[in-house]
């Protein structure tokens, strides 16, 4: 379980200080599918960076079970991410001079997995193992990014607007892969989006506005990627 307690975060200092997170509290259960929903500037990306250990909060705590990651050193945080966290970003951030296979291996080697080709097959890119990111469409690149994140066996998968750069068809495909793999493998999914429709796929929705959580609710029924509006 992830317990977020009174997290604050500001950028800048003095009169130019901009408080982005203003005392966030949240609880996320293991295996949950959570969507953090908010408009641009609501603080959702900063929140994701803080709970994933990419950025340090100014105050408050983020506990994974009993372990407070805000107390960890940079080195310990790196080890923590290695053992627990997977990331998928809007911009993919694939290594451009490496093939699909080698990009996914980046994640697999961290977990000591040798079966990374199966993960590539699972995201439907078996025929593109030797292709380079520049030879793939946006949707395919995002699927490589999904495979790379899953290859390291994450306990929690963070997704930062994963369909933000994709068209509807490929966006739905990517969300479908994520949703099916989540069901199959049981990891926790924490996805940020500004798209209300995508929130319908989540079990738990955390709504944010101006650095505070304004609403937390559970969807009575989780829709599939092909059932949601766009």
């Amino acid at each position: 379980m992830i317990t977020v307690n009174n997290i604050t975060k500001s950028y800048g200092s003095g009169s130019a200080a901009n408080q982005v997170l203003k005392g966030i509290n949240a609880t996320i259960n293991d295996g949950d599918f959570v969507v953090i929903l908010g408009a641009s500037g609501s603080g959702k990306s900063t929140f994701l960076n803080v709970i994933s250990g990419l950025e340090k909060a100014d105050s408050g705590s983020v506990k994974y079970g009993d372990r407070d990651i805000t107390k960890l050193s940079d080195k310990q945080l790196t080890k923590f991410r290695k053992d627990n966290i997977g990331f998928i970003f809007q911009q993919y951030y694939l290594l451009p001079n490496m093939t699909v296979e080698k990009n996914v291996k980046m994640g697999a080697d961290l977990a000591g997995r040798k079966d990374y080709r199966e993960i590539i097959e699972a995201v439907g890119l078996g025929s593109k193992m030797k292709s380079y990111p520049s030879e793939l469409s946006g949707g395919e690149q995002q699927r490589v990014s999904v495979a790379r994140a899953l290859a390291k066996d994450p306990k929690v998968l963070f997704l930062d607007e994963p369909t933000g750069a994709l068209d509807e068809k490929t966006g739905r495909q990517v969300l479908d892969y994520i949703s099916r793999l989540h069901e199959e493998l049981g990891f926790t999914v924490i996805m940020i989006t500004h798209n209300q429709n995508i929130a319908d796929m989540a079990k738990t929705v955390i709504k944010m506005n101006s650095g505070v959580v304004t609403e937390v609710y559970e969807n009575p029924v989780q829709k599939t990627a092909y059932e949601i509006g766009w």
């Binding site: 960076n49 990419l54 950025e55 080195k75 790196t78 080890k79 923590f80 991410r81 290695k82 053992d83 966290i85 990331f87 970003f89 911009q91 951030y93 290594l95 451009p96 001079n97 490496m98 093939t99 296979e101 080698k102 291996k105 980046m106 994640g107 697999a108 080697d109 961290l110 193992m129 030797k130 380079y132 990111p133 520049s134 390291k152």
Partner: protein
């Protein structure tokens, strides 16, 4: 578009040009004076010495000046290529708005300023050092050389490289810009990927990354090789020059070699770190520790540096052997030359230690790369 600040980033070229201008000013001035006293040289030994000194001046000017200028040209073209690549969208928009290739390329002439600064500094330093240089050259000579300041030649040593580099910058930029607007607008780092012929997927990721980092930017291979070459060649040669020529000559070679070697190594490694910042950021996000990340990015260049050092050792030995056995073969006073093991024993550990220290500095830089801001750069 191209600003003075961009030109300042070319300080590496300024330093190389400064060294080239320094050496060429000394030896061209000396050569002109030598030619002027041609008829006054009498005696067989004096004539042999005269011929040898004339050849030395020509060889030093052409080899040293030529190598340094060539290095500067490679550095300049690499810089302009990277400059255009990183700003391809901005340049594409300018072309889309109606700016012609030449009107954009013309801005690149400002890069000539870095050469101007280096040339002025080099010629100035040579002017200050020249009395001492003549004193050393006249020591044990068969004839007395009078020092004259050939201002015309000095001016040309400033003007010619400045104009040459300004024109070269414009022409090269023009050629790089001569492509369709949409290609420039769409151009991203991804489309310039050097694809590997070796797709061996059995290697661990970190080993793969090490290989790919080296392979993906070939110009850096040259700079790192050349830096080690310069270090090895100049430090070892400087020891021998103390015996064969003079202590001052030895120090001059040593200082120029060290400046060139360290500056080039630092520039190349800065470029490696900058070019791989996104990869490094992503590896840290995924949980690769700082040490293994830095090692994967930097350690691939070690064998290139070793090769450069080895070739530099061979080159300086060969060059001095030719100078002693061919150019100065008839001069009585010249001592025998054989491979200087002592010089190698000093230069090698010095090189290894300084190379590893510089690598450590850049490893630290990699550790300190801010993940978030690197990922926000687009």
């Amino acid at each position: 578009m191209v600003t003075i600040k961009d030109t300042l980033k070319l300080f590496g070229i300024s330093i190389v040009i400064c060294c080239a201008a320094f050496v060429c000013t000394l030896f061209i001035n000396y050569r002109i004076d030598l030619v002027d006293i041609k008829d006054t040289v009498v005696g067989e030994q004096a004539q042999k010495m005269y011929d040898a000194q004339l050849s030395t001046s020509t060889v030093v000017c052409s080899v040293c000046g030529g190598c340094l200028i060539l290095t500067s040209i490679i550095m300049l073209l690499t810089y302009i290529k990277n400059f255009i690549n990183t700003r391809s969208k901005e340049l594409g928009i300018m072309k889309a708005l109606g700016y012609s290739d030449m009107s954009i390329a013309r801005h690149f002439r400002i890069f000539g300023l870095s050469v101007l600064a280096g040339a002025v500094a080099g010629v100035g330093a040579a002017a200050v050092y020249m009395p001492k240089f003549y004193e050393v050259q006249n020591k044990d000579s068969y004839y007395e050389m009078t020092r004259n300041s050939h201002f015309g030649a000095w001016a040309l040593l400033i003007v010619i490289p400045t104009v040459l580099f300004a024109v070269l910058s414009v022409v090269f930029a023009y050629r790089r810009l001569k492509k369709p607007v949409m290609k420039l607008l769409r151009e991203s780092a991804d489309s310039k990927v050097r694809k590997s012929k070796d797709n061996d997927s059995s290697l661990p990721f970190l080993k793969d990354l090490k290989k790919e980092t080296v392979r993906s930017r070939r110009s850096l291979i040259f700079f790192i090789w050349f830096s080690a070459f310069c270090f090895s060649c100049n430090t070892q040669m400087s020891f021998s020059m103390k015996t064969l020529a003079s202590e001052t000559m030895g120090y001059m070679i040593l200082i120029i070699g060290m400046i060139l070697a360290y500056m080039m190594l630092i520039l190349a490694l800065s470029s490696v770190v900058k070019g791989n910042s996104k990869t490094v950021a992503m590896m840290r996000v995924f949980g690769y520790d700082d040490g293994e990340t830095a090692k994967a990015v930097l350690s691939g260049y070690r064998w290139i540096a070793a090769l450069g050092f080895l070739m530099g050792t061979g080159y300086q030995f060969g060059l001095l052997k030719v100078m002693v056995n061919v150019v100065f073969k008839d001069i009585d006073k010249l001592p025998d030359y054989s491979f200087d093991v002592k010089a190698l024993c000093i230069a090698l550990p010095l090189f290894v230690i300084s190379y590893e220290l510089i690598m450590m500095f850049f490893s630290n830089k990699i550790r300190k790369l801010p993940v978030k801001s690197v990922m926000l750069e687009n």
